[in-house]
């Protein structure tokens, strides 16, 4: 069993910039100790609501980019979609505000030893952690094709620098307001075949991950996914964030996606809804 990310620290950060891009907020945070240990796929946990908050739990955000030695010091960047109360609070915080953060947390995307052809597939803000990954892969000599989809153009996260790191980028929107009209899965199979993709990295809503996985499985392409489960702690102490995962011993266990994930081998995840019957310790 993998234990908590050994590089995690708890620290106080300061917002350097909070800008709206499309439907999202791009927040740059100056904070010591997190970028230093961060790898693509890791996430951070942020306290929300201030000193007299009625929200006791931290909120989880994938690291979009991080840099230990930028000209502003050690920085971490995130892409925030306003969803409920906590993310709404976050998007309202102005430059100079203090944030309490724990990170980097969770597993990171495994990097292939050899320069192979990979695809990064991002749904909505799920694209955020993939461009840093793309850069690492590029430096390894991989060919990287990107496929980014969302409901509408405002929800496509594909920053200019990101676009430069990849060999190609395909965009789909359900309403046709940007790129091809339709879903990621409408164009995925062609893209995988054309570019002879050997490994897929995907991040987005569970429905999308599942649809991608069906195609990956059919084409026998390895698939690393980053999942998004409700997390109360993010550090492995509460057991809320579990998913059924088959171990190397063949046994299915409910593993914590905050420490055994969020990056998981798509083949090991049991994709059915609920707790699968063969899970260790399943009751009744």
């Amino acid at each position: 069993m993998i234990s908590i990310n050994q590089r995690a620290v708890t620290s106080e950060g300061k917002i350097l910039s909070n800008r709206k891009i499309g439907a999202y907020h791009h927040i740059i945070i100056e904070i010591e100790g997190i970028a230093e240990g961060a790898k693509p796929g890791n996430f951070i946990a942020i306290s929300v609501g201030g000193v007299e908050s009625n929200m006791p739990l931290r909120r989880i955000f994938a690291i979009y980019r991080s840099k230990a030695q930028s000209k502003y010091g050690s920085i971490v960047e995130i892409i925030v979609a306003e969803s409920g109360k906590g993310s709404a609070w976050l998007t309202r915080q102005i430059e100079g505000s203090t944030l309490y953060i724990t990170g980097p947390l969770g597993t990171s995307f495994p990097i292939p030893a050899d320069p192979i052809n990979v695809a990064i597939i991002g749904g909505g803000y799920g694209a955020a952690p993939l461009f840093d990954l793309a850069e690492t892969l590029k430096n390894k000599g991989c060919r990287v094709d990107a496929l980014i989809g969302a409901a509408t153009s405002a929800k496509i996260f594909a920053p200019l620098e990101g676009k430069r790191t990849v060999n190609s980028i395909t965009i789909t929107t359900e309403d046709g307001s940007a790129g091809k009209k339709g879903r990621i899965t409408d164009v995925l199979e062609d893209l995988l075949k054309e570019n002879q993709i050997e490994l897929i990295y995907s991040c987005g809503p569970m429905g999308m991950l599942k649809a991608v996985h069906e195609i990956a499985e059919r084409l026998s392409i390895a698939h690393q996914i980053s999942v998004e489960e409700s997390m109360a702690c993010g550090i492995g102490i509460c057991m809320t964030c579990v998913l059924p995962i088959r171990g190397d011993d063949g046994i299915v266990r409910m593993l914590r996606s905050c420490i055994d994930g969020p990056v998981i081998d798509g083949e090991k995840l049991i994709w059915s809804e609920g707790i699968p019957p063969e899970t260790l310790g399943r009751h009744l």
């Binding site: 306290s47 739990l57 109360a232 509460c238 310790g281 009751h283």
Partner: protein
């Protein structure tokens, strides 16, 4: 004059009164990278059952105003694997350990107690008879005097007096002092107060119960007034029985409330989710407060609200 921060529960001595809460520190290892577990009064492990258990369906949590619901359903590896992997690691780390157990039947509690005999390094057994996250809430032994009593008797007999027994009770009862009385008579050396309150959140979008298990246990600052009241009531009736207090503590001042009500030690649960260092921070704050109130020792503050 030096301040004495230690506490004792039925003969077991702890360097300070701040413990983790069962189910809110897994088996301790996860927190160990943030601080040394020896800094805590004790680690209380996640309630362990006889066999491996996968727990309830997800989602397993919902945030509520100043609180949260959880419906973990006692997921765990089972007692054997727990002893082999988690407990042995914990003990070797030098941490003080309170092992929490949960069974589906009176016999299962007894079997768990037997399995734990003879393990060096356990400071106490917390008997969780109050977990609301079970399929059949009739299984909440702490809801009925007779079943509460039967479980504690079974644990006592099977444990052979090796470690103090702390019975963990539910606040979801008409009169908690009656349940306390039964478990004390059955041989509990201390009480853990309180487990979570049974609650539910309905998702405003789907209009269905949000949790996979429908109901869940309410914890966090929201429930602190219920914890203080319960501890106060039980300490008033049984002033000699040590209480491990818990429920919504997230600052030294909160912990002091529970201690003044009658707790000899305080477990920190939900607060650790919001801050991995919560236990350490609370421990420091509490010590400073006790000193500023001119208490020569923690023990002098226990139950002080009853005398003033």
């Amino acid at each position: 004059m030096s301040f004495d921060y230690s506490t004792s529960i039925a003969g077991s001595v702890f360097s300070n009164p701040i413990f983790t809460a069962s189910g809110c520190a897994a088996s301790g290892r996860e927190l160990a990278q943030f601080f040394s577990l020896k800094e805590l009064g004790a680690i209380v492990t996640k309630s362990i059952m006889l066999k491996a258990r996968s727990g309830r369906d997800t989602p397993r949590m919902a945030e509520t105003p100043s609180g949260m619901l959880n419906s973990i359903g006692l997921q765990g590896p089972g007692i054997d694997k727990f002893i082999e992997e988690d407990l042995s690691w914990l003990i070797s780390s030098g941490a003080k350990v309170v092992v929490s157990i949960a069974g589906e039947s009176v016999d299962e509690y007894g079997a768990l107690a037997r399995r734990l005999r003879g393990i060096k390094g356990i400071s106490a057994i917390e008997v969780n008879i109050s977990c609301p996250n079970v399929e059949n809430r009739g299984q909440v032994f702490a809801c009925h005097p007779a079943s509460a009593r039967a479980v504690i008797e079974s644990v006592r007999i099977n444990l052979g007096g090796e470690y103090p027994i702390i019975a963990k009770l539910s606040p979801d009862v008409t009169d908690i002092t009656l349940i306390a009385e039964e478990v004390i008579n059955a041989g509990a050396d201390g009480l853990a107060l309180i487990n979570t309150l049974l609650g539910m959140v309905i998702n405003p979008k789907t209009l269905k119960p949000h949790l996979g298990g429908k109901t869940g246990g309410l914890s966090g600052p929201a429930i602190r007034p219920v914890a203080v009241r319960t501890i106060f009531q039980v300490h008033a009736k049984f002033p000699k029985i040590p209480i491990l207090g818990m429920g919504g503590v997230s600052s030294g001042s909160d912990a002091l409330e529970l201690i003044a009500a009658g707790a000899s030690a305080v477990s920190i649960g939900t607060a650790s989710f919001g801050d991995p260092y919560a236990t350490i921070k609370i421990g420091k704050e509490l010590q400073e407060l006790l000193i500023s109130h001119n208490f020569p020792s923690l023990a002098d503050a226990v139950g002080i609200a009853h005398d003033r």
